[in-house]
């Protein structure tokens, strides 16, 4: 089994006619993702890569009642509206690729989604892939391979780096979740750990964190408190990052004394999580752990 997306995932692409939207629609389709519809207001009636385009999500859902997932490529100024539209239309999972959404807007739609029982991945994220089943995101599909290790990560390329090393080492993935680099993500490390705990297709979890906030520390606490059974291997980026500087991601900043890598690494180690020093070591540690 996998989490979040699988072969039953039916996708609507919001912002399908944009450059990013159409490019990744093609890439997702060629990976095998079932994309039934796209939405761009005012472009209803056209097609992109053979996918019918509608003016609104509700229209798409009426025409394709099997739709359960949205992926959003809408520019940041319009992205929140797109998220609410997806929630309103009754979708279960909304993957927000868009970078640069004001955090006040994100706080609101994340909270609203939670109250409505809708899962948000992102924003500012690469999306979710369950190798061989469905890719709802912008990651290069070929670096992933089917298997039994879950990945949850705040970063994109670094995840591909680690997944690629895992794949090369013969360690496949159940699902890789990119929760995104924003300060307030729709899905947190704890949420993902919880999903993987319940998933009988996942034997171990790779957690790829970075500076900023205390999500890693909270994950560590969760692992201890819940006596998390599946082994977790972590990598934390940003040990050499100076305080007060935003390192690429909106959320990657050590501020007001919170968010440095040392504290995260310490917490995770104390929770029994093996923390890799180099990205390449993640696969090595997994190999050792999974042999047991």
């Amino acid at each position: 089994m996998t989490v979040l997306v699988n072969s039953n995932t039916r996708v609507v692409v919001q912002g399908i006619t944009g450059r990013e939207g159409s490019f990744h629609t093609r890439a997702m389709l060629s990976y095998g993702t079932k994309i039934l519809a796209g939405v761009t207001p005012g472009k209803g009636g056209s097609t992109v890569e053979g996918v019918p385009v509608y003016d609104s999500v509700i229209e798409a859902v009426r025409k394709h009642p099997e739709l359960n997932t949205s992926i959003i490529f809408v520019p940041s100024r319009f992205a929140s509206d797109a998220v609410y539209e997806a929630i309103d239309a009754g979708l279960d999972l909304v993957v927000v690729i868009t970078e640069g959404i004001p955090v006040h807007e994100t706080m609101k739609f994340v909270r609203y989604a939670k109250l409505n029982g809708v899962t948000i991945i992102g924003p500012n994220c690469p999306g979710v892939i369950s190798p061989g089943e469905s890719k709802v995101g912008i990651m290069p599909g070929h670096v992933f391979s089917r298997g039994r290790v879950g990945i949850v990560s705040r970063s994109g390329t670094l995840t591909y780096e680690i997944a690629y090393a895992m794949t090369k080492a013969g360690i496949g993935q159940s699902t890789s979740i990119g929760i995104g680099g924003d300060p307030v993500p729709g899905t947190s490390f704890i949420d993902a750990l919880e999903m993987f705990r319940e998933d009988d297709g996942t034997d171990a979890v790779v957690l790829i964190g970075e500076i900023g906030g205390d999500m890693e520390e909270r994950a560590a606490r969760y692992i201890v408190e819940q006596e998390y059974k599946k082994p977790v291997v972590a990598y934390i980026a940003g040990r050499t990052a100076p305080p007060g500087k935003r390192m690429g991601h909106a959320g990657a900043i050590i501020s007001m004394g919170v968010g440095d890598a040392a504290s995260k690494i310490k917490s995770l180690k104390e929770a029994g999580v093996e923390v890799a020093e180099l990205p390449s070591q993640v696969a090595e540690i997994l190999k050792k752990l999974l042999k047991k």
Partner: protein
């Protein structure tokens, strides 16, 4: 983006948060005039964005316009912690009976605004949180609901006030939240909020940090005021790169924030010292790569340039062309280590090797090479 104190004060004024009478000036003469107009004792405050200006001599109490003139003259044009003082605020000096603390921040852990209130203001809130956590009240606000009167009442009543200051504090909480929300703040802080001997309140300092992602909503702050950036920072910003200066000699150029940090860290773990963080983002074309490489080639502290690209959307041949173009335009003694992996990897490698640029396949070995060339820490 942090606002200058006077910008934050202007916003507070608009939103009904009481602020001592003040003027913002950029010459000693203006300072004199402002002090005269305000009357009585004034505080001269250097307008800089760095923290701790008070201890660095950026805040002075002037007894009269002459003193205000003198302090303004000292401060204007000087540097405080490396930041040039371009303006000073002349502010009516407030008699303070007690200093309180009030702020609204985004709490990332819970994804919601949090009101922080303490009857003990004037000190560093992080310090207070360590020493007397029980003296800080934390109220979580549901972002889709916003501030409510019951939040404001709880916050105000924690400040140990009596009427009419108590009622006024409630209003300030509501108004500060309106500032926080309407300006998309990461932080809106009053520290100290002064209780005066006549039982009224004044926001003696004002601090606002805006969410960079929301800056487009406030064009009045984006360009009108100069914020200190180095040449390299300014250039990187123009091209939409994420760029941060560090202390070492190995320049780092990658695609993706996480990978850039991990590359930086790997160099360090393997014994070297990164000179910067430069993330060119996903899908960069040759011309942008060229500009990024050129930037690092220009930087005096950079002796080795370590380019680590994992191509997904980014195409390795585009990257290679960009690197080659940059090298062709400059004569440099700097050493370049390139790790290329992913989409169009072979083509990229060919292009680079034809131009005598070192290409490696794995990140670790490339990092080791860079450290070796950089000579270690």
């Amino acid at each position: 983006m942090k606002l200058f104190e006077y910008e934050a004060r202007n916003i507070f004024n608009q939103y009904g948060i009481p602020v001592p009478k003040f003027s913002v000036v950029s010459s000693p003469e203006e300072a004199y005039k402002a002090a005269e107009e305000i009357g009585g004792r004034v505080v001269v405050k250097a307008q800089v964005l760095v923290a701790g200006r008070g201890k660095a001599g950026g805040v002075k109490l002037a007894e009269n316009p002459e003193e205000a003139y003198r302090y303004a003259k000292q401060m204007l044009g000087s540097e405080i912690k490396g930041e040039k003082v371009r303006k000073v605020v002349i502010s009516k000096a407030v008699d303070i009976a007690r200093e309180l603390y009030l702020s609204i921040i985004i709490d990332r852990s819970i994804g919601a605004p949090v009101i922080l209130a303490s009857p003990e203001g004037g000190v560093d809130i992080e310090e207070l949180a360590r020493t007397k956590p029980e003296r800080i009240l934390k109220i979580v606000v549901d972002p889709i609901l916003g501030v409510r009167d019951y939040h404001a009442r709880r916050a105000a009543s924690f400040l140990e006030l009596s009427e009419p200051a108590l009622k006024k504090a409630q209003e300030i909480v509501v108004n500060l939240y309106r500032v926080f929300e309407n300006y998309n703040c990461e932080l809106a802080e009053i520290n100290p909020l002064a209780l005066t001997p006549d039982n009224s309140l004044e926001a003696v300092d004002a601090k606002i940090i805006l969410d960079d992602n929301a800056l487009f909503k406030y064009p009045e702050f984006s360009s009108e005021f100069v914020r200190d950036l180095s040449y390299y920072e300014a250039e990187a910003k123009k091209m939409n790169f994420s760029y941060v200066e560090l202390d070492g000699n190995i320049g780092i150029l990658c695609n993706g924030a996480g990978l850039t940090m991990a590359t930086m860290d790997s160099v360090y773990v393997l014994g070297g010292k990164p000179a910067n963080f430069l993330d060119i983002g996903g899908g960069a074309r040759a011309d942008l790569v060229e500009k990024a490489v050129t930037l690092l080639l220009q930087h005096p502290k950079t002796e080795v340039i370590f380019i680590n690209i994992l191509g997904g959307i980014t195409r390795c041949d585009e990257v290679a062309n960009g690197i080659v173009a940059a090298l062709k335009k400059t004569t440099t003694s700097k050493k370049i280590v390139v790790r290329l992996k992913g989409t169009n990897e072979e083509e990229g490698r060919r292009i680079l090797e034809e131009n005598n640029v070192f290409v490696l396949e794995e990140m670790d070995e490339a990092a080791r090479k860079a450290v070796e060339l950089g000579g270690g820490r």
